[in-house]
Point group: C2
Chain length 271, copies 2
Amino acid sequence: MRTATDWQETPPVVLVIAGNDPSGGAGVVADIQALTALGAHPAVVVTCLTVQDTRNAYSVNPVDAGLVEAQACAVLEDLPVAAIKIGLLGTVEIGRAVARLIGEVGDMPVVLDPVLIAAGGAALAEEALVDVLLEDLLPRATVLTPNAQEIRRLAPGNADHAERAGALIARGCRYVLVKGGDEEEAEVHNLLFDAGGEVKHFTWMRLPHRYHGSGCTLASGIAALLAHGNNPRAAVAGAQRFTFEALRHAFRPGGGQHIPRRLPSIGSDHG
Amino acid sequence: MRTATDWQETPPVVLVIAGNDPSGGAGVVADIQALTALGAHPAVVVTCLTVQDTRNAYSVNPVDAGLVEAQACAVLEDLPVAAIKIGLLGTVEIGRAVARLIGEVGDMPVVLDPVLIAAGGAALAEEALVDVLLEDLLPRATVLTPNAQEIRRLAPGNADHAERAGALIARGCRYVLVKGGDEEEAEVHNLLFDAGGEVKHFTWMRLPHRYHGSGCTLASGIAALLAHGNNPRAAVAGAQRFTFEALRHAFRPGGGQHIPRRLPSIGSDHG
């Protein structure tokens, strides 16, 4: 697995397009920590400002779509972006603006995390935005990372995850990673699909708590590893290992869910 | 110097109130990386979305002051905040909302970075916001971190930094750290003042490049070390050492300034 381990090396840039969670559990804080931990440089375009704590999301306040575009253009014109990670979009207009942007950047890995529901259960996307995800963004995604609930909404009327993933891959995305962390099963099953069907079945020990920001951590981890030049299968496997370690060392600072520990501190060397 | 070095320890929470820089050089990305590196958990309230690259800032788009307040209240009601770091505010209304908030949190360390000018030269605060800084925020600041240009604007009509710092401390802040990094001197001189005058003169080797986000890195470093329970003098000294190392290992991803490397990556352990 290739990552930047050398302090002399210039980290590859990952463009993050996502929302802020002020608790620091999910959203761009999670993205920034995961990308930095895996040796990538985060360039961050904020789409929405949520009001949120470690229990649930209370409001989603979208940024003007033109401002989302202006932030992203400033990054793309100045920095050598090596991969893009898309999270919470917020509105149809933002979704369309992001689709236009990624339509213009050429062949570049795109990780699309279809954020539809907050960890605490709040709905984060209206039906029209789901359509934009399916029609405008999916065709450019290298890896789509829905949880089980999200893929049921994205591909309804199918018998199982294999059929659902097949329906999404038929729209143009290359890989679908279905995450089982929120399902009621003794172990966590994450399933990776490509156009040929199931590529790999990952089984993880179920950890004892509920976690705020595990999906953002995983999607940004995949984007970091793609930006380093790894192939999608290796990136998906490596990012899961990274996320599992972050969850295993999670802490609970507030009254709600645990927050993944995405980075060890430097400690007293610089203190 | 106390920092969290143990993966089992719950990091102290630092509330960051600042703007986003999409290049990831300055703003909340810098804050998140510095706080995380020094073992604190960042809870991030976004005040402004800037359009910015590694060369300069092109626009500052303030968030509604009520939304700034709602984000901060969500954090303060859920998480045990141990210190506050204030950066770019953007408008008088946001400045006043933040002043109200920190007036209500009781005795808690506050690091106030009076962001008035972008690294590339763009003005980031109008005169009325300077008044809010002086009148409403300074009285609650534990450490104020102006650069030489900023302290000349905050305390005009004084003969030297000692007089300027004295004038600001008379308004109620406890310590003023005047940063000399942008001055035309062979070495960098940072001067720490308290009510009794100059406490400490720090001399640093001048590094060869221009850096995007050094001030955010330093202010968040101080906040992290205060949140760990260090006294202000120790926090100011430790954060300077941390920042110097981040600048010494900086990289240049784009066409403009270097970006401080605030964290080593975890590397192949998790890859």
